[in-house]
Subunit: 404 residues, 2 copies
């Protein structure tokens, strides 16, 4: 596998664009994006488990129920959720895209992100879609990645080349974070495009399998959003023999997909609202995978630990505390804890009790931008990783007055 430029436009046959159409007051901020595939593509998606679902998710689910899609339209600045006319507006967005591109309106994936419960005005979108279509280009990936940002501080995109059955294939993706992030079966907004030939069924299987260890292991603030969605479009233009079962080709695709999703997870966690640090917690020595995942996620979600990491304070008691209330069945007297970064590793707890360590060395390690929290349960061979970020003054600032 080789990393390449181009994000969602890297794969053959995909173009994208992103513009400011007027949903946001700030004219320097893009607020709508379009992705288009030359050929109708296999499409898979996973959605938030929040009972309060954004109207665009309901419309997307219906549109791609046949397993295919050809375009993605996504606005930022307004989530189109908890609005009495939400479904109508989301459908209107699809029909406008369908008219402008000359495709079936049921081949459109629609998504919205931003504030909940304020009506989404269709007028700026109506005016914007023709502009988006004429702006579609092979270099449009960056503009598209910008158009879906809310409180994100940087664009999140990645692409890579890999081989399936001797054919060179490409996969790319873009994502938006960065608050209300604690996915459960799905996550934030992520759009992945690939030119692999794969059946809708196998594409869905790949995505559903992958997110259990990737997007569902990310948490910024414990709040599962109403508009979380991940979609993958696979248009088959790489020319590989279509993947229709769980063989070597499928595994090659899974591996490429996983590289994309893990990269996007790390970007999303590291750019959590107000975050100054990416936290990666790896729990090893678990008796089963589920225990490892439960423990890792509980640690990454602890407000107390997140605040300690912001302060570069090696307060490992909070790691133990978070393990203890995780509901996982662990022997607390066997737990080892260490903190690691590019500055080195410091062991702080052995067999559930504190050990002597250099506070100075710990401080040096924890002042870095990427911190690994290493937990060994010493009870088996399974492991899991979860991603999160520190809790900072800026998280409070950003969320203390998000709407104004």
């Amino acid at each position: 596998m080789t990393l390449v430029q181009g994000g969602v436009c890297a794969a053959k046959g995909f173009k994208a664009s992103g513009i400011h159409c007027g949903i946001r007051a700030n004219r320097t901020k893009k607020d709508i994006s379009l992705i288009f595939s030359e050929k109708n593509a296999s499409c898979a998606a996973v959605y938030t488990t929040n009972l309060v679902k954004g109207a665009p998710l309901t419309v997307t689910k219906e549109n791609i129920s046949d397993g295919y899609a050809q375009a993605v339209i996504c606005n930022s600045g307004n989530a189109n959720t908890c609005n009495s006319d939400g479904i109508e507006i989301a459908k209107k967005m699809c029909s406008l895209v369908s008219e402008a591109l000359g495709i079936d309106s049921h081949d459109v994936v629609v998504a919205s992100t931003g504030v909940i419960g304020q009506k989404l005005n269709i007028e700026p979108i109506k005016a914007g879609i023709p502009l988006l279509v004429s702006a579609l280009s092979k270099d449009g990936n960056e503009a598209a990645a910008e158009g879906i940002m809310t409180t994100d501080t940087f664009k999140k995109e990645i692409a890579l080349k890999f081989t399936v059955g001797g054919k060179e294939c490409t996969i790319g993706g873009m994502a938006k974070g960065s608050g209300m992030i604690h996915p459960d079966m799905a996550t934030m907004l992520v759009f992945i495009t690939t030119d692999v030939a794969i059946s809708p069924e196998m594409l869905q299987k790949a995505l559903s399998t992958d997110i259990a260890n990737t997007f569902n292991m990310v948490s910024v603030d414990g709040d599962t959003s109403t508009n979380d969605m991940v979609t993958v479009l696979a248009n088959g233009m790489a020319g590989n023999s279509p993947i229709t079962d769980d063989g070597e080709d499928f595994q090659a695709f899974m591996k490429a997909l996983n590289t994309i999703t893990v990269s996007l997870c790390r970007m999303i966690a590291g750019d959590g609202e107000g975050a100054t640090k990416l936290l990666e917690c790896t729990v090893s020595g678990a008796s089963d995978k589920n225990t490892a995942k439960t423990v890792a996620k509980s640690i990454i979600c602890s407000s107390l630990l997140k605040a300690a990491m912001f302060g570069a304070d090696a307060n490992w008691g909070r790691v133990l505390c978070a393990i203890g209330y995780s509901k996982a069945d662990v022997d607390v007297n066997k737990i080892d804890v260490a903190f690691k970064s590019s500055k080195g590793t410091v062991e702080v707890c052995k067999n559930g009790s504190g050990i002597d360590f250099s506070e100075e060395k710990a401080k040096q390690i924890l002042l870095e931008k990427e911190i690994d929290i290493l937990v060994d349960l010493n009870s088996g061979k399974e492991e899991a990783t979860a991603w999160g970020c520190d809790l900072t003054y800026d998280y409070v600032k950003i969320n203390g007055d998000y709407r104004t």
Copy 2:
């Protein structure tokens, strides 16, 4: 019922004291407290469900397994948790109290609160206990309430008089908050004293029943502490006919106990680390009690909503979002939401969708120190209340470097 002064000393036969013995470096901060009952008392307790349990809880549980206790010793500044010699130190605290008071060491409740995983030095405690005993007085309640404070900004105590079977009885309590608060079957440290005559079994029943709707409905930061404990001592000196079954007298006691626990819950939530506001969320119209409780607690735990409340921002979409991911089975299209304070009430959501409201009025309401979040599920007759606080810069500050 009438509120009275005196906290844990208000009931007949109880004395208390609190001093600085040297566990904390800051000599102006008290760090150890003692409560003593003239007569051996019925004793009930509930403990944290965290698998990582403070050594003092293990020792207390063993000591009061016969249903009786006569003294409470509690230090702040160190939790005596995750230390290899924790049990030994906690037992030593009991034997020192037993010697100084001339009581059985198994009649001592021991508790510790503060940082986890640093060894607790017995020497200052050894020197302090004789001083604590000689300082015991009927006016010692305030000093005792101070001695158990960690990041609390004010002493938490309350007492009241009530009648059981024609006899005037008294009940009082003290508590410490204020971070790592998200109780599950038990909570923070709370010590309640009463002169009611009641069997240990009925006292335990009263406490276990009560906490399900009081302490277990409080959350400051979603972190369930390792050292949570609530104990009640009832020494029978009021002279009422002992309560041994679930009759009128038991109900009178339950009511008095509930008044004490709800008051302490409100104090703990309102003094949550860094908090500027007390949030009280009442969910009504639920099909069953459990649904009401689940929804109320999910709302009170949302970091996003807590930050919005700090910013006095009527971002009700975050209330809907928190209901949606609570796992409660609700019809989101029936939900009404309003915010209320001493400045009035503003309705913001009807049938799951936003309604027009005055942002100015909402701001005025939300700038107050006590905010009610009113949610009507419109699906039944059950209701529940949960207590929490806003998420502020100071929460991050306090927890960014708690140990130093």
